[in-house]
Symmetry: C2
Amino acid sequence: MVSNHAPMVRATGMSREGGDMHITILGGGGFLGRKLAARLARDGSLRGQAVTGLTLFDITTPQPPTGAAFPVRCLAGDVADAAAVAQAVPADTQVVFQLAAVVSAAAEADFDLGVRVNLLGSLALIDAARRCAVPPRIVFTSSVASFSGSQQAEMPDDARQMPLNSYGAEKAAAELMLQDASRRGMLDAVNIRLPTVIIRPGRPNKAASSFVSAILREPLLGLETPLPVGEDFALWVSSPRVVVEWLLHAAAMDTAPLGTDRGINPPGLTVTVREMLAALSPAERALVKQEPDATVAGIVGGWPARFASARARRLGFQEQVGLPDIVAAFREDDLAATRAERGL
Amino acid sequence: MVSNHAPMVRATGMSREGGDMHITILGGGGFLGRKLAARLARDGSLRGQAVTGLTLFDITTPQPPTGAAFPVRCLAGDVADAAAVAQAVPADTQVVFQLAAVVSAAAEADFDLGVRVNLLGSLALIDAARRCAVPPRIVFTSSVASFSGSQQAEMPDDARQMPLNSYGAEKAAAELMLQDASRRGMLDAVNIRLPTVIIRPGRPNKAASSFVSAILREPLLGLETPLPVGEDFALWVSSPRVVVEWLLHAAAMDTAPLGTDRGINPPGLTVTVREMLAALSPAERALVKQEPDATVAGIVGGWPARFASARARRLGFQEQVGLPDIVAAFREDDLAATRAERGL
């Protein structure tokens, strides 16, 4: 193994008992980034160390979480701009959550934008990480969309990534580069292939998977929503709360048992549309209208709905909770804010 | 499927019966590029069409093949420079052989150089291909080094690429991007994972696999050479002649049966060092000196020595010839030139 990592004098300042714990969230203004930042503010610690600084970086200046007992820097910039990323990842950074992404529909619509953010952004992060005093832990959110498989397939832990969309291809390519940089000792990456995250707050969007959250969220808001697939259609899903737990575990875990393979298929949940609808009341369920859409079914039908995830369980990634808890968490965490945001 | 391919007015000029056949070889000055260019000059045609133009592109200006009945442009440039690649791949290009690479030892020694040439070079090629009048066929040489596996493993056709070196990681990432660009209709790629090519002409180099050619070539030149692994050590190899056949087949084949999966594990040959030495005369064999080298054995030992290659056979890729033919071809094609080059 060859290492290009040149140790630098480690930045001090803000040192506390147990050492510095400076954290950066790239994509810190997004839906998961905000939840993660709020959690870090609440916990005040990571890996048993007090957080001594947090940098949030996004394409527009993110809002800091409320109640943080540590300094928070909020930066706006382009994740594919090496200088901007270097500023967001100073030399004393211990952990970087790389959540910045152009999502599937946008990456399909604009190839260049997807390549820049989803692939070149990770190369910029490798550059910044190499300048850190200690190789930082990188928690990279890859995606179920980097795989393909039938509705029936159960993907083994060593399944090949054969993406059917540009977003998945860029994520898989970025994984390869972060994995190689880990082998070389430039950084220490964990690449988590997230399932479809439900229930996303906010509005329906143009993502092919938009309906997966919408068929729960919209009825909970009292709104009608179309269902483009049949009720037997199966999906591999996770909840925002459990995703945050996975991200924190990936930041804190011992990576030695990973060896070369930095990819994690976390233990999501296989659900059918029928099971999702059963989590609603009859009145809510009546708001979901069958509107078959072959295009949407074709795209989402290429994403496997079942993964073995045995390795992730062995490595301590927690099991996804069931649908009733997912719905309850949305009511508790996001329903009021979504109502307010949408003027409902 | 979304296509960003904007058809342009197709360049004319040099048109012949059967249409234009303009070909570019990126890495046209290298060992395989020169052999391929010589073959195209000899054949004068590809896919049953007369070759109407050939561009050779490399980091230093390549030499044109002798006896070509078509115009040959020889360009020097950086394969990661989009403008240089656009010049090398004009809008009327039908076929690009992308052989330009920083090889394994060099990519391991200089991470930035490897990323630039082996990954960003393919992104520059995608840019150039999108500007072509018709999506060009891209024949991309990937490598056995993009896989890892034990000496005993037989790799199935859908084996995951889990590289243990930067060269392999960059090749696998470039494959993903070329495959996605194919799905989008920007180009039409075939990614061939070449086995270790023997017998390379010229001199021993610092590649971990240098010995694989050297233990045949050096004795055939009357020179001593070290053997860093045991005689039972198995390798997945191919000959330059058969590799040229594979490249030509990949340029001419119908890619519709490939579907999404643009990766080809061609039918190479599993050989042990013992079998290789048996292809030499007793006097030649005596020039090979056991000098165990754990570092070399560790690197090359991570490359699988057996692949199923059933899909490639079905798709018409020809079977690798045996060791006696490989040695005979080296004597015929390369021995005199290597002697002259090395002043022997």
